[in-house]
Amino acid sequence: MISLKHRSETAFRLPGGLQSTLENRTFFKPSLIYVNRLTNTPLQAGGIVATDRLRRLRAMLLLRSFESALLRQPKPGFQLLSRGEEAIAVGICTALERTDPLLCSGRSIGMALARGVPAGGLLAELAGKDGGPNKGRAGRAHVSMPSVGLFGAHGVVGGNISVAAGVALAQQQLGTHAVTCCVFGDGACGAGSLHETLNVAALWQLPLLLICDNNGFAVSTSVRQGIAAPSLTDLATPFGVPAAAVDGTDVDAVVSATVDAAAAIRAGYGPRFLEMRCVRMGSHSTLTREERLAADVERFIESDPLLIYERRLRDDGVLDDERWVRIQAEVNEDIAEAEKFVEAASWPDPEAAMLDV
């Protein structure tokens, strides 16, 4: 579990003057899941039925297994994986309506799967094959499938934020009542586009939900090194945009925070900002070396959203061994099917691609 405290984390010094790459994050279970900063009152998830919770668990497992399958591909390519961030993807997509446009960053694999992009199609897209939703042209960084609500990933850090404001403006103008949701990393919080967008979104009361997936690092730069604000939620408050920090390793917390924020936006109360804290369990990308301390990396398991949720469902009597084995078998079947799909998929025709320029 991730601490929702921020400034209280004082960077502790390791012997030899080395600073922990985690800057002494604490891993206790927060007693408060989600706090509305305006009213300072805790908001709790409503009663969730067991099947919904099992569905969340299964979705997170699908993301985890999909990425393992991706790494088994002959040429996995330059991929930004979601391991450790699955609860955010699954929670947000559980909370959004199908017609709510979702824009995400280049760390899109989990988002795309959780939103409903078929696993085989996504695997083909990541391989650059014709069977992907974008005929292999977009790849991970730009995958889109508007028919399932994935308006699109965008590979420029922070580049999706102002575009999302435009999508929200269109919803406002067309009177659709849809909430446009934009997910970006903590690295994007240093980009001007976030600050320009917060300003306009607040001025125009755009139906825009900005969600920062704070995995602690922009490649190798920690949040503390890259962002002066004590807390990322502080970035939104000067604009009068209500902001809250959420435990991004707790899928139920992510769902309830997103549901509450989306409901407020849909009711016409303007934009909202959520910071979802989690741990990026792997290095930045499949091609980036891991520079965090081995001792820290070992502790990531304490923040593994899949493990946390599996344990919780067992504790709550929702999950037993038999059911867990069955879920794993189902997911493995889906993955096997996806692998077959990508193998059979053809390569794109360069001449056909020219037609869409």
Binding site: P133, N134, S144, V156, S162, A165, G166, L169, Q173, E196
Partner: protein
């Protein structure tokens, strides 16, 4: 035909398109009650209201991003960039998102947006004066138009607003005070069509935007010296009307390319190469800004950019009438 100022032609085109299509919205600095930095949106705010004519903060990046996202989600935004120099701040959503959207989404999404940006040197110094046209021509997926007459401003803007986009519509500060004939009935000008402004048999002078006006002036001086020039106003920088250009240079055998921007990787460089591939043996010359930033000093500014006299000299040099 009515005689309208360039700015009036723009306002009329926008108003007609806003009436025709409720998805057309305007985004930009000072475009609402103020009526636009060049008075080219005068009356639109009063007529169409604050939800369709939106003043933006001084934030070009989010302005272009708003336009790109709104276009992708079903609106037809027209974003105003007061000085094209500031479009640099908004190039990310334009180039990295809008221009690539149809391709990267495999045709599922498009960005039918127009960025209207005002270029050109007119006494305001290094960062309110540039001509960046050739940068934009370089981007696959972008359409770039640059009218020089009120009639073309009207017809091209209407076409741009209706096109699947994205389009960059470049006008010029020195064009706004000029008047011109605009048809009374609705008229659209297709993208990718150049206009022959004057016919002559000795040399083809190719220009766009305000330099078309200067080239026409130069052609009159050349005529006095017995040189008859074809003057072609490109109107559309991408797509390029190769047919009109090639037809002209096949007759004249000589082509002079004039632009207000830099010649390095410039519009003229691209056109000269493309035409030499199509018309072997073509003799070419180009004229553009000197390789120096634009100054606020009127002396330095006019020294930096082409004028009629320099066009005449370049034409005569190309024709072998003066020493190189």
């Amino acid at each position: 035909m009515s005689k309208l100022f360039f700015r009036e032609a723009i306002a009329r085109a926008i108003a007609e398109e806003m009436v025709r299509d409720p998805r057309v919205i305007l985004l930009g600095q000072d475009i609402a009650a103020h009526g636009g930095s060049y008075a080219e949106t005068r009356g639109l705010f009063e007529r169409f209201g604050p939800s369709r004519v939106r003043n933006t903060p001084v934030a070009e990046a989010v302005t272009v991003g708003l336009a790109a996202g709104a276009a992708a989600a079903g609106l037809r935004p027209l974003a105003f960039i007061t000085y094209i120099d500031f479009l640099m701040l908004g190039l990310d959503p334009l180039v990295n998102y809008a221009a690539k959207l149809r391709f990267k989404s495999a045709g599922q999404l498009t960005a039918p947006m127009v960025v209207k940006a005002t270029a050109g040197a007119k006494g305001q110094g290094p960062t309110h004066a540039q001509a960046l046209d050739s940068w934009l021509m370089n981007v696959p997926g972008l359409t770039v138009v640059a009218p020089s007459t009120a009639g073309d401003a009207y017809g091209l803007l209407k076409t741009a607003i209706r096109s699947p986009g994205p389009v960059v519509y470049i006008d010029h500060k020195r064009l706004f005070p000029l008047g011109g004939e605009v048809p009374d009935s609705e008229q659209l000008i297709p993208l990718g069509s150049a206009a022959v402004r004057r016919e002559g048999r000795h040399i083809t002078i190719v220009a766009h935007s305000y330099m078309s006006v200067v080239a026409l002036e130069a052609s009159k001086q050349l005529a006095v010296a017995g040189i008859e020039a074809d003057v072609i106003d490109l109107r559309s920088l991408w797509p390029i009307d190769w047919e009109t250009l090639a037809n002209s240079v096949r007759r004249t055998g000589n082509a002079l390319f004039v632009e207000e921007g830099q010649t390095v990787c410039g519009v003229g460089a691209e056109l000269a190469f493309g035409l030499q591939e199509r018309v072997p043996g073509l003799r070419v010359a180009r004229l553009g800004a000197r390789r120096v930033p634009i100054s606020a000093s009127p002396v330095l500014e006019s020294d930096a950019i082409p004028n009629a006299q320099r066009i005449v000299q370049s034409a005569r040099r190309l024709l072998g009438q003066v020493a190189a």
